[in-house]
Structures are given as structure tokens and as C-alpha cells.
Symmetry: C2
């Protein structure tokens, strides 16, 4: 892999390409072009070629991309050629939905623990998991070496939970709480914000 | 508003700016600069100035942006200077989470109906709502003139639900099901895909 600094906006597009390629592979397709991939994801062929060429020569002029090969390469680049353990904090509706969600495993992630602070939730079973006391969060995450977490607690306690996660060694947080987290710059944070997606669509209505 | 076609990638950034501006306003801040806004959202000041200038002259050289004014303008552009009624299809964990989510109303959206097809869920109360039979979906959406919907059903039935929504007049769909929807190009679709956000972070780990 290239050691030069790749713009984050490009990194943000790679999972979109990877997803589309995996879908094509599931449909039995073996090769594709930047044009076809572009149609699938709504990004120009030129942009796709430029983005992918940042990491090496993965396509061939005239024959396009071998889908399995490109999936392998993009998975390596995004480090999802392995499975990351993920902790969920907050066993409300959203926590339940995430634990029951079937879409993580073939994308490189497996939820392995869920925490809450409410006595009525601690000890409760969700799927194969028992909700653990958030007081055990630091110890459990450190012991398991978990680096990735999702926060689904109310906004009022999200910052506190994020701080605890980072202290326990978590380096990447997906935040569902509607609040911007203030964390050290070496911690990755992403936000799920449905209103943002809705607003992007109403522009066109 | 300008009548020229604005690239969709710019439209996609406007909700991010709007959100950050609303947060600043809540903190009592009255003016900001493209530099400060850039720091808040992780986008370059030059990019922000370029994006916003597509729609008019909303800032002043030297004094920056009046936050309330820019919020008003961006809200008009994104058409969230009003409140859109939203239908939710799927009363599982995710449907519950969305109906109970407090973050929609001040961003321009209000969930007004929720549907499911399962006898054990139809008639169930979620917050102020009664889950309606999905068989009534078309009629209810047409009657109310709802244009925006969120799909939280399993992937296997998401396409069918989307088709029904579009037939009933829905023009914008936020899809939580892990499947790409095939719809007429005049229907807006956005996807919530947590794995994509996770993969964007693991690159840096």
C-alpha cells in the first residue's frame, strides 16, 4: 500500500465501492468497469478510477476490474480482511436493533458485547448476548482488546460513555446519539444522523 | 435561489453545515467564519465558501457569516423551513427507535404514522402512535399526502414495501434495510449503512 496520505474523502468512498462489488459478486458477476461501478453507486467513472489508482494498479485497460481481486484489495486497504469485535453501549431500541442486525459479519464486524446502566436491562438477554453492567465496561473492553464501539445511549450521557470507551482502549466510535463528541484526534468518530439524509432528499422535492 | 444544477455532493454537505450552525446557535454564538465552521465539520474553509457561494452571497468579507441568517437560508434551500410528515414501515427494534428518537422535529421532520404486517404488532402502541396494518399503507399515505418514508423492514420485503410507498406518492425514502432499492429516478433514496461508517474508521486503525 502507498504510504502517502490519502484524502479522507477518498477513504470514505471505498466502503461504497466495496459494498457494490460484493453485491455484484453475490450476483455471480466476475468483472466490472469503472463505468458500471459508477452507475451502481452514483459516482463518475473518472472519480472511481482516480480513487482506486491511489492504491495501485488494480484494473486493466480494456478488461476492467476483476471483482474478486478488487474486493480483496479494498478489504485489505480498509482492514476488513479480518473481523473486528465491536462493543455496543446502550441496550435500548437501537442497541437491540444493532445486536439483531445481520449485516455486520460479512462486512468485517461482529458485535461481541453490549452494556447498559439500567438495572432493568442489565442481565437481560438480547439474541445470544447478556446485557452487562456499564460499570464493567472498561475492564471487559480492555480484557478483550476491543477497538471498535457503537454508542446508542441518550445524548446527555454519550460524551461520558465515549470517554470511558477511549480510556479502555477503543479507537473507533460509531455514534448514534445526536451529539458531537469531543475526543482526542487519534480516535476515529463517525455519526449516524438520519435527519442529514432526509434533508439531502427534501432539497429535490 | 439559483436555477443552475448544483452537484449532489454539495447538496450532501449542506445538512452538515446546517447542523453545525444550529449547534453554534444553541451555544449562543451569533457569527462564524468558514474557518471555524470548517474546524467543526472537518471540511476545508475554501470548500465551505465555494459550496455556500453556489446559492448566493450569504457571508461578508471580514465579518463572516451571521449564523441565524445562514441557518434560515440553508433551511430554505434544503426545504426544511417547514415540517415534513414521515411514515415508518417496520415496527421492529429500529422502527421503535426511530419513533422514539427526539432528533427529527427541529431538523424538519415529524413521524406521523408507522406500519407493520405482523398481527402481533398491528394495534400495538409505540409512544403516541398505534402501529397500523401495512395493508392500509397506500390509502393512509395518499390521504395524508406524505412524501417522505423510512423503511426498517427485513431486506427480503424492502423492495416490495418501497414499491408500495412510491405508488402511494412517496418521493423520498430513507432505507435501513441492507439492500439496494430499484426505483424510478424521480424518487430519492438514501441508505443508512453502519458498516460503511465502521469501514471508513478501520482504515486508520
Amino acid at each position: 500500500m502507498n504510504s502517502k496520505k490519502i484524502p479522507d474523502i477518498i477513504i470514505g468512498r471505498l466502503p461504497i465501492y466495496l459494498r457494490a462489488l460484493q453485491r455484484m459478486k453475490e450476483e455471480g458477476i466476475q468483472t466490472t468497469s469503472s463505468q458500471e461501478l459508477g452507475r451502481q453507486v452514483g459516482i463518475s467513472a473518472a472519480q472511481i478510477r482516480k480513487d482506486i489508482s491511489q492504491f495501485g494498479e488494480f484494473g486493466k485497460q480494456g478488461t476492467g476490474y476483476n471483482i474478486s481481486f478488487l474486493i480483496e484489495k479494498l478489504s485489505e486497504i480498509l482492514k476488513v480482511d479480518r473481523v473486528w469485535e465491536v462493543a455496543v453501549v446502550g441496550a435500548g431500541d437501537m442497541g437491540h436493533a444493532l445486536v439483531n442486525y445481520q449485516g455486520f459479519l460479512h462486512r468485517g464486524f461482529r458485535i461481541t458485547m453490549i452494556f447498559d446502566n439500567h438495572p432493568s436491562k442489565i442481565g437481560q438477554k438480547i439474541g445470544d448476548f447478556v446485557v452487562q453492567d456499564v460499570a464493567r465496561l472498561g475492564e471487559a473492553i480492555r480484557e478483550a482488546g476491543v477497538k471498535v464501539a457503537m454508542i446508542t445511549v441518550p445524548a446527555s450521557v454519550a460524551q461520558e460513555v465515549a470517554d470511558q470507551l477511549v480510556q479502555a482502549g477503543v479507537k473507533a466510535i460509531l455514534n448514534y446519539a445526536p451529539i458531537k463528541l469531543k475526543l482526542s484526534p487519534d480516535v476515529q468518530v463517525q455519526y449516524i444522523d438520519p435527519s442529514r439524509h432526509l434533508q439531502r432528499m427534501t432539497y429535490y422535492l
